[in-house]
C-alpha cells in the first residue's frame, strides 16, 4: 500500500520538463525571478541569498572570480570548522557541471521552498532539480539555462552550493530545502568566520539532524472489543510520522492466539471469545530500518 502511494506521489512530482528516472525525490534550488511590466526578466537571484540578504549577506570573494573559484572560496572557509563536509561538498561541486542536464525551458516547479515573501513583480521559480541517484546518462541534476544564464557568478556558485548541501539533506530524509538554504547562507557569508568550533557543531547538528522516522502519535492506546466480533485496525493510523522506508510491525510479548498482527501490513485483527473477557497489556513496535517506536496497548475484551 505504501509503495503504491509513493508511486503515485512520485508521478505527481515529476513534470514533463525533466525525466527523473529510478528512485527519485526531485527538488532543488530556486530563484527569485523579477520581471518588468511587459513580463521580461529583469533580475534573477538565488532564493537562499535573497532570503538572507539582510541578516547574512553573502561574501564569495572578488567579483572577477569565476563561480567555481567562489565555490572553492566558501568551502575553504568551511574547511576550518568542518573538513569532512567541506571535502565532500568540494568533490560534489567539482563534478556538478558534468553530471547536470543543461536544458532550455522551465523546470517543473517543486514545492519545497516553504513560504518566502517576494516583491509583487517577482516569483519563485525552479532553477534546478536533483535525483537521488544518477540517471541512465549518469546525470543527477537538471538546471534550466533560462535562469542560470541570468545569475552572476555569486549566484551560480550559490546554486551549486545549494545543490550539494541539499544532496546531504535529501539523504537524511528531507523533502524541503529550508535548512539547506539557511546553511548555504551561513557558509556563504562572513558569519562562518566568527563561529567557534562548538557553535558550528551545534549549528551543523541542527541542520543535518535526520528527519523523524515512523513514530506513534501517543505513548499508550486502549482498544475495547466485544467477544465474538472481529475488530481490525491499520496501525498506520496511529502514527504521527509515517516514516520514509518500509515498516515492520510487532507486538511484544507474543500476543494470545486471538490477536493477530501482520508484520508487513500493520493490520491488527482481534477476534476474542467469551473466554477472553478481561484486560491485556501489550507493547506495539514499529521498525523502520534501525529505528523504531514503541507504544503501550491495552486490549479490553468486553462481554
Amino acid at each position: 500500500m505504501k509503495s503504491y502511494l509513493l508511486f503515485i506521489f512520485g508521478v505527481f512530482m515529476m513534470g514533463p520538463g525533466v525525466a527523473l528516472a529510478g528512485h527519485e525525490v526531485g527538488n532543488g534550488g530556486n530563484g527569485v525571478v523579477c520581471r518588468n511590466g511587459s513580463g521580461a526578466i529583469t533580475t534573477v537571484q538565488l532564493l537562499d541569498y535573497f532570503q538572507y540578504e539582510d541578516k547574512l549577506p553573502y561574501d564569495l570573494g572578488p567579483k572577477s572570480w569565476t563561480y567555481l573559484q567562489k565555490v572553492d572560496f566558501a568551502l575553504t572557509r568551511l574547511e576550518k570548522l568542518d573538513s569532512t563536509r567541506a571535502t565532500y561538498f568540494q568533490k560534489e561541486a567539482n563534478q556538478f557541471t558534468s553530471v547536470t542536464h543543461w536544458q532550455d525551458g522551465p523546470l517543473q516547479s517543486i514545492p519545497d521552498s516553504g513560504f518566502v515573501p517576494v516583491p509583487a513583480n517577482c516569483s519563485i521559480q525552479q532553477m534546478a532539480v536533483q535525483h537521488v541517484n544518477n540517471d541512465s546518462q549518469g546525470k543527477r541534476y537538471a538546471v534550466t539555462n533560462d535562469l542560470w544564464n541570468w545569475l552572476d557568478d555569486d549566484g551560480k556558485a550559490g546554486l551549486i552550493l545549494h545543490e550539494v548541501i541539499y544532496r546531504e539533506e535529501i539523504r537524511l530524509g528531507y523533502t524541503d530545502s529550508i535548512k539547506a538554504r539557511y546553511y548555504n547562507a551561513v557558509i556563504s557569508s562572513d558569519q562562518i568566520n566568527t563561529m567557534t568550533s562548538d557553535a558550528y557543531d551545534d549549528f551543523a547538528k541542527m541542520i543535518f539532524q535526520p528527519v523523524q522516522h515512523a513514530g506513534f502519535a501517543q505513548d499508550k492506546y486502549t482498544i475495547n472489543v466485544k467477544v465474538s466480533t472481529t475488530t481490525s485496525l491499520d496501525l498506520h493510523s496511529l502514527l504521527a510520522f509515517p516514516g520514509v522506508d518500509a515498516l515492520t510491525w510487532y507486538l511484544i510479548p507474543d500476543p494470545p492466539s486471538w490477536v493477530n498482527l501482520a508484520e508487513d501490513s500493520g493490520i491488527l485483527t482481534i477476534t476474542p471469545s467469551a473466554a477472553n473477557v478481561g484486560s491485556y497489556s501489550l507493547t506495539m513496535v514499529v521498525r523502520e530500518d534501525s529505528n523504531g517506536s514503541l507504544a503501550g496497548l491495552t486490549l479490553v475484551v468486553e462481554p
Binding site: Q212, H213, G215, F216, D219, K220, T248, Y250, I252, T283, V285, R287, S290, N291, G292, S293, L294, A295, G296
Partner: protein, 247 residues
C-alpha cells in the same frame, strides 16, 4: 619401610603442591553484554574470530561466561541460549571457544533492539542469576560490546528511538554504579566493567559514544575501555583478556 616413607613423602608433597595449585586457580565469572542491533553484525563476528585468543589468555583460570543482549525491552537481561539450550560456557567445557561462538550466534536482531539498554540488561542478568554471577568472593567481569550508548529507561519507556526521544526518563547511571559496587560489600564480588564502545578518541564513527558505559567503568573501577572499531577490535579485546588475567 624406607621405600614406603619415600613414597609417602612424595605423595604428600604432590598433594600439597596440587592443593596449593588448586587454591591459587583464579575463578572468575564473565558476563558479556552484546549489542544485538543490526549495525553490530561485523563486531559479533569479530568476537567469534578472536574468542580463541581471548580464552588462551585466561588459560589456567576457572571461568564461566554467559551472554545477554542490549535489548532489555524484549529480553530483559535474559541469558542468551544456543540451539542446544546452553546458556553458559566454562573452562571445563571440551570446546569453550566453539560453545561461546554458538552463544554469540544466538545473539540476533530483535524487534526492540533499536533501544539499547546494556546497563539495565547487565543489572537484570546479575540480579536474576545469583548462582552464576554472585558467587561469594568470585570476581565478576562485565564486558560490553556496543556501537551505541546505553539508553536504559526508568519511566515512560515509549515513543521513538531513545536518542531522539525527549519524553522517556533515563535511569540514572548511578543506579548501576551503586549496585555493582554493593556486590563487593554484600557478596565479596568485585565487579569490573570493560566497555568496548565508541569514545572520543576512537578512530571510527559510531552511532553514539558509549558515555554511560564509560562512566560506570570508571566509577566501578578495575576495568579498562576498548574501542568498538573493527581495525583495533582484536587488539583491544586481547587487552581486556590480559587485564582480566592479571587482575
Amino acid at each position: 619401610m624406607k621405600r614406603f616413607n619415600f613414597q609417602s613423602i612424595v605423595t604428600i608433597m604432590l598433594f600439597v603442591i596440587g592443593l596449593s595449585a588448586f587454591a591459587e586457580t583464579k575463578k572468575i565469572n564473565v558476563l558479556w553484554v552484546i549489542d544485538n542491533g543490526d549495525s553490530m553484525a561485523d563486531q559479533r563476528q569479530l568476537i567469534k574470530d578472536n574468542i580463541g585468543a581471548f580464552l588462551s589468555t585466561l588459560k589456567g583460570m576457572q571461568y564461566r561466561m554467559a551472554v545477554t543482549t542490549t535489548d532489555y525491552i524484549s529480553q530483559a537481561g535474559a541469558l542468551v541460549q544456543n540451539s542446544k539450550g546452553l546458556t553458559s560456557v566454562t573452562s571445563e567445557n571440551d570446546n569453550p571457544s566453539g560453545d561461546f561462538s554458538s552463544l554469540v550466534d544466538a545473539v540476533q536482531l530483535s524487534p526492540t533492539s533499536f533501544w539499547e539498554q546494556g546497563l539495565a540488561s547487565a543489572f537484570a542478568a546479575v540480579k536474576n542469576n545469583v548462582d552464576m554471577f554472585q558467587q561469594t568472593n568470585v570476581p565478576l567481569m562485565i564486558i560490553v560490546v556496543s556501537d551505541d550508548d546505553d539508553w536504559s529507561c526508568k519511566a515512560n519507556c515509549f515513543g521513538i528511538e531513545p536518542e531522539n526521544n525527549a519524553t522517556y526518563t533515563p535511569e540514572p547511571v548511578v543506579t548501576y554504579i551503586e549496585y555493582f559496587r554493593s556486590l563487593k560489600k554484600s557478596r565479596g564480588v568485585e565487579v569490573s566493567v570493560f566497555p568496548l564502545v565508541g569514545y572520543i578518541e576512537t578512530a571510527c564513527i559510531v552511532g553514539h559514544r558509549g558515555t554511560r558505559y564509560l562512566e560506570v567503568q570508571e566509577s566501578v573501577g578495575n576495568g579498562i575501555r576498548g574501542a568498538i572499531c573493527k581495525d583495533s577490535f582484536a587488539k583491544d579485546l586481547l587487552s581486556v583478556a590480559t587485564q582480566i588475567a592479571t587482575h
